[in-house]
Subunit: 307 residues, 4 copies
């Protein structure tokens, strides 16, 4: 499999981790999920992201899940694996394992202990050295979750210092000015920028120079179609699609029940067999489900109206 590089674009889906109702890793649903995402037009996959349920897997389960996705894909799309870890030894170990399995690169989020610009840059220098400078990595800028705040200047320092940094996952809330500032730096190697946050700022991010999205809305077609519309220079079409999905995207993006809603929708769409989450995880109320259903119905109607 080709390694990840700065030309990556489109939608790298952050996939859910399917479990059976009793909480066992569901590899059959994994296959179906892979097919579903490919069919909806994603250009890549991101597994074991720091959000979601990756931390609920044992190391053996994590390996098994990654291998199953890689096998099912069989080279049809690159796979990025989250390798964030409290220690460099574990990070290096997991990175080596998944790269040997055929991953295209890894993604690294900073630990919450980093407080200053210099600490952030040094951390990434150490991390790149630990995983090996031949392994391409994604720099994840996700302050709401990591509590680490990177300026455009700090991100630029990392990109300049580390050739193996080929992509930025732009996931500030929403950090639009930061994205514009990075794209305006004429002396900076152009890396791929994919955006997160469930895509709820996708139009603005595409207009400011993002290459696509790396996130996990239960309607990946929203993201693939918005990105395609921008690639075809049809911004109004992009916003028509986006606006139709926005009420549900916003709802699925809420902390707490968000992931349960995403799994509920994916189960409803026939992608995964069970919407079960491992503990700790919320259970949807009847009201949550009714609201979701109402928004799906409205969304369907609206999509028909815009054609």
């Amino acid at each position: 499999m080709a390694k990840l590089d700065e030309s990556a674009k489109g939608v790298y889906i952050i996939s859910v981790t399917p479990f059976t109702d009793s909480g066992v890793l569901d590899l059959d649903s994994t296959d179906r999920m892979v097919d579903f995402y490919v069919e909806k037009g994603v250009t890549g996959f991101t597994l074991l992201g720091m959000m979601g349920e990756a931390p609920k897997l044992t190391m053996a389960e994590s390996r098994s899940f990654v291998q199953r996705v890689l096998k099912r894909l069989n080279g049809k799309a690159p796979v990025v694996v989250g390798a964030s870890s409290p220690g460099f030894a574990s990070m290096a170990e997991l990175t080596k394992a998944v790269m040997d399995d055929g991953a295209a690169g890894v993604m690294i989020a900073p630990p919450g202990t980093l407080k200053t610009d210099d600490q952030i840059v040094t951390y990434y220098e150490n991390a790149a050295e630990a995983i090996g400078t031949s392994v391409p990595f994604v720099l994840q800028d996700f302050p709401q979750s990591t509590n680490v705040h990177m300026t455009a200047g700090v991100i630029a320092r990392i990109i300049k210092a580390l050739p193996s940094c080929v992509m930025l996952k732009h996931e500030d809330w929403p950090g639009l000015a930061k994205l514009s500032a990075l794209r305006a730096m004429t002396d900076l190697r152009r890396v791929s920028i994919l955006v997160g946050n469930g895509g709820v700022f996708l139009p603005e991010e595409m207009e400011r120079g993002a290459d696509g999205a790396m996130t996990g809305f239960a309607y990946p077609e929203m993201m693939t179609e918005v990105v395609k519309a921008y690639q075809a220079s049809k911004p109004d079409r992009a916003r028509d699609i986006f606006d139709a999905y926005l009420p549900l995207a916003r709802y699925e993006q809420q902390p707490g029940p968000g992931l349960a809603i995403r799994k509920y929708v994916l189960q409803k769409r026939g992608v995964i067999a069970s919407a079960a989450l491992r503990k700790p995880g919320p259970k949807l109320s009847a009201l949550d489900i009714a609201e979701t259903e109402k928004m799906i119905a409205r969304q369907t109607r609206r999509l028909q109206e815009i054609g």
Copy 2:
């Protein structure tokens, strides 16, 4: 002026603080802004909220601003004043002053030093004692900003312990389950619940028992009309209106440039003379403005479509 009580509903607008281009408090724009909000159907006002620019005012400016709004309103709508303070002596002093001026009640957010359930409850007991138990107050639950996390159980303890707590400002992100839990407590005095966060979860909150909104979107008519539609049992109509405004509401809700966008729109609508913010505050880029304009145009078109 009547005091705030548990029957409050509708939209209590969180007003901006108008400045001239040179940063002087703009009392003429204040008058125009009061008229504008009344015309758009708000049922109350909230001044000196913890977000926005209230902390940028001196005490004398704060007093002057509150008095100007009260004078212009001349009893047409109740005014709640933010009285959150690091110390009870200042909180009591400000509360006495604004209640004497004619405010209907005060709003109190918890300081970020509160870490446990008991600390939160004790803090509100002390605060209620400090301001005087005859002064109605709004409990502000806004964890993203305060970093204080209240369960429904803690809120219920406060409501039970303190008869002068007549309203909850529900501003978790978005805390829908908490709202439902509070409304399901059959042994709890029913207080007014108004919601925040720029109204971006208003439909779900109304459907779960909120009485309206206390927040500050530059199109207050979105909120007043959505609330009215729910009061008239027209939930689909409410969502049609909401969805039309959602792209801009989401955009205005972003931390950082959000308040500058709100002021830009209010200036554009002729409400305030200048969009200036006092330092520290962001400046909008040409791109921010272009995006805002595009969304306003699309919003106008969509509102015409839904009639």
Copy 3:
């Protein structure tokens, strides 16, 4: 090996993790370190604590280190293993492995995402279920590091709900009133309470009902002798010893260089072959070393004076 129970007392040393100068896990030094700690009078060991360098080990290294300590001890002292983990599956897996190897129990610190009393209690209920209710565990209350704040009431709820909670690691900064409150609860099962923070509040904690310490000062004899003096009802003797060590204990307790200082002293004392830390970790400056040496000299002199 007997399992940990509520009668545990004395000093459970938080051991360092010895590396060679090139960063390889040093199992020969591990043996020597085990002997040293036993000779200094510790009654138990705690491995893979959340601070220190445990997160810098791979899973295989962690297992190897635990097994080496268990083998060297050969039943001479109980071993508690830190099992805190972002997910219950990993926590259960590690717990099963180390209990099979002969550990006496595990220690669990709460994840920083817990914000309310109820969330904390629920987390421990789920954790105890995940590891199996026959496995004794230590509740670690260490808010400076976890950012989770537990009242005495919350700790009592956990102790009451979970019979397998047999020990509290009291490591608030310093939370003396909390310790007193717990010991004053007449309806609460008496669990063992061992204290942390490098022992810098050990006299006050012993006087308030602690059973000893679970922490890692490079002079473990300070802690074992202070505890013994209290057990022999000689509080003044205890404070004489404590005061003699306090300047260095305070210095070693500083965040940042603290662990490097501890390793420096242990190397100097002939316990470990190298003072090396794995990245990320501080390097001592010449000044750090000079200060350490000066305090050791003064400490030696003072210990001679008190006899």
Copy 4:
């Protein structure tokens, strides 16, 4: 009164705020306290620091307290006033008032919203502009309380950019390497560095280039004598004094009851009439008081031994 400048040294005492038992500002005790501190050898005063009870005062009480201290001192020692504020308008207003009253300068701590190096520098540029560049100010680096983390590099940027920054209050925990790094910068204007944290790292800080302390232990003679011993090149004498006071200094430094302990001791020493704290504030238990008394007795004995 002369203005504060880079040559400041010795001990700037962070004074307590005396209240009567009923919580009224106690100006008679204020006079006695001023005399006491002067008699113990302090070279300056710092009022309305961000810790302690300054936020519990109304603006009028704050002004009255500052004026009383200034009047009593009558020019005998310079007074620095804490002017940290959520907004620049209030900061400027308070600064102007106290400088007109005769203060020597103000102290400014950063708000917790600052997350990046650039944000910190910009904040101080704006603050210095707001208060006027002729007003000398103290940069307070106190991350445990502010949650703002400054590198030596950031502090140097501020010192270079702002001539009115004449002093650093060094109050990291304990940030010894940062202090050394600043003193090693040969291209940096030498500002005064006074240290905080109750003086519990005072010897190491003096040896690394601090000019004294700005903090508030109830035995200010510990700090004035340690500083004098270093000025007289008697480091061993300095450590003898320091070590004698350390058990109590450590105890008084604990978060929570610390300030109540300090007031208890000051009352016991006849300095203030009442140890009362305004709410919210802890009450000492019988155990707290017994421990304090025991440590004072031991401290007295030890001081006699060292002569």
